[in-house]
Point group: C2
């Protein structure tokens, strides 16, 4: 059953499963308890922080373990609303994940603004620099910039490293949702950004565990309050088995990148060429810029996307109409709207996202299946 | 290695492990995705909601899956702060878990008050009724009452069912942290309370997953915002494997209660008698009232609690100085302070908490070990 919806979630990787089970056997004590077995779990947790810090290029004490990207977006937005000056604004990329848009809209009522994006949905560092400089004179300065690393619907990469430099030079905090980047492209360098987060189930780890890098200067940052866990940055019993599984999955994915990325990108590109050949009039979204190696967002020439998804499902191929968390809803994609697609084209757009384990023959079979579904749907008209 | 710190966390139960692994194999798709495999996960998730609803006596649509009790306390406090009238206050039991105290102190600055407790730490329904009635005339009415089901440090049970009736009769919302109750005593009836929560790792489930019952009338309740998961009540990809494991653990614990509770309580009582015999001058906390069958809170006649914990650890017995999340901190227990223990007695108080798998010979061995440690510490003076 070829699975092409890895941007929604991934199966648990064997390494993550193994790490989770081992931790449940060896390191299930509450790390806050006062005996040696608990101290050993504390040591392992600190080891995981060090390892994540090394992967992302950040001091270990910036690593906060959370339940996922939605929690991270929520607590970072709330922290910035508390800590930025009362008149400061946030500037948010309009193609962010719904949890990021909603968290900042909720924490900064009347104090947030959308960023301009180009027709691929990219935020341009030079335009951001002008916007930040201009805002300082306006009396409502931008105090934080919110731009994701890679888009979940289109795979388009944002120039987060350049944006980070633009922000740093101006004392503006940058928040970067790296949920789709982590595990697909190297984590190295993300630690240069103030606030970074991601979630394990997007890269082979379990659901319910995620990673947040807090800003180095934000010693007083806290998410949930209560017990003194995680140096006060996040109350709640630490889920070491989940953290161990997340680390195993990310480490494995980082190795996969080095070995396989080029080949995987070539397979995806081959699929796109095949699709354009068998379905003339198809239009790739974001094809003019750098994208994740695994993602295809394509407006098909005819028929609504949910009909494609259902017919392909019957043939054993799982693809998506868009972001999983939004696909239950009716209505057009805010991402595609932000980059100027017409509503009619949006309704013909599907998302296809592979994983490290996806093989070339699955891509080939998907292109053939899509040609067959096109014929079916054309006949059913 | 006899483990006597089940109120801090429990090992993963075989049933929970099995359920988690099976779900990771069969039901790992993102339940919000648009194909049949995802729909099957949605069906399983709804089935879990039904099952939790049946166990607690609540409509399934009140069940919200969260990451644990700390998240639940945080989002319920925030919801009540948004939804109660601006002048309404919350009345909070002073022996609540730190995450509940902190969440309500943070959400209701200047608008919360402590409840009176007796010398066992119990909140009396009649006193609460008078307090609620009196508060209505005061111009700062109590809009919500916060009282846990069972105390994590002492095991003392609160009369939550009676308190629920007192609140219901007066239109006051009641919040009940059932973290230590669930899995040890029957869940049935908890659904009568407006807001109830607990966390899987206290009853054999994995860390990082918890259960919240929202108030039936709170259709607009939301925790994290973002995707439309859980009917908008909690954004974030649903962790079905975690939920399945939590359900397996709770179902197993409910069966254990029926089979074993009386015998387990008798073993604990036998231990307490043995301890008082070998260590005269020991004083049980909360012994005058109903307590969990698994918990012993005892002020030992001499030597500081951390010395007892360390010596028992060397002998292979894991006990605690108090709440795990607080045991890393210095300073006295707020629970013991609230029931009037002197600071000097608090420093001599330890918590011992068994599990369903604890056997009588382990209790006997613990009493013997404590006698031996007393002799050791007396000699080392």
């Amino acid at each position: 059953m070829p699975y092409f919806d890895h941007n929604a979630t991934t199966p648990l990787s064997p390494a993550a499963r193994q790490a989770w089970l081992q931790a449940q056997d060896e390191a299930w004590a509450n790390p806050a308890s006062p005996y040696r077995e608990a101290a050993r779990v504390r040591v392992r947790l600190e080891g995981a922080r060090e390892a994540f810090g090394l992967l992302l290029g950040a001091a270990a004490d910036r690593v906060v373990h959370v339940s996922g990207a939605t929690e991270a977006a929520s607590v970072v937005a709330a922290h910035l609303a508390r800590s930025l000056p009362a008149h400061a604004r946030v500037a948010v990329n309009p193609t962010e994940h719904p949890c990021v848009l909603a968290a900042f809209a909720s924490a900064f009522p009347g104090r947030w603004q959308g960023l301009p994006v180009d027709t691929d949905g990219k935020v341009e560092p030079d335009r951001v620099a002008s916007l930040l400089d201009g805002s300082r004179a306006s009396g409502a300065p931008v105090g934080a910039l919110v731009v994701m690393a890679a888009n979940n619907e289109t795979g388009v990469l944002q120039p987060w490293a350049d944006l980070g430099r633009v922000c740093r030079a101006r004392g503006v905090e940058m928040v970067c949702d790296a949920s789709q980047w982590l595990g697909k492209l190297p984590a190295a360098g993300l630690g240069e950004v103030d606030w970074v987060f991601g979630t394990a189930h997007k890269f082979g780890g379990p659901k319910g565990v995620g990673l947040l890098l807090r800003a180095a200067q934000a010693d007083g940052f806290h998410g949930f309050v209560g017990g003194g866990q995680q140096r006060g940055h996040r109350a709640g019993t630490e889920d070491y088995p989940g953290v161990a599984a997340m680390l195993a999955a990310l480490s494995e994915a980082e190795r996969s990148q080095v070995l396989w990325e080029e080949e995987r990108a070539a397979w995806r590109n081959g699929f796109e060429r095949a699709l354009l050949a068998v379905l003339p009039g198809s239009s790739l979204v974001g094809a003019g810029t750098e994208r994740l190696w695994n993602t295809v967002s394509v407006s098909l020439p005819r028929h609504e996307n949910h009909r494609w998804v259902a017919r392909l499902d019957q043939r054993g191929f799982q693809i998506s109409t868009g972001s999983a968390c939004a696909s239950g809803k009716q209505g057009p994609s805010h991402v595609l709207a932000a980059i100027g697609l017409e509503p009619e084209a949006m309704r013909r757009t599907v998302r296809i996202s592979a994983g490290w384990a996806t093989v070339m023959t699955e891509w080939t079979a998907l292109a053939q299946a899509m040609a067959a579904v096109a014929a079916e749907l054309d006949g059913a008209r």
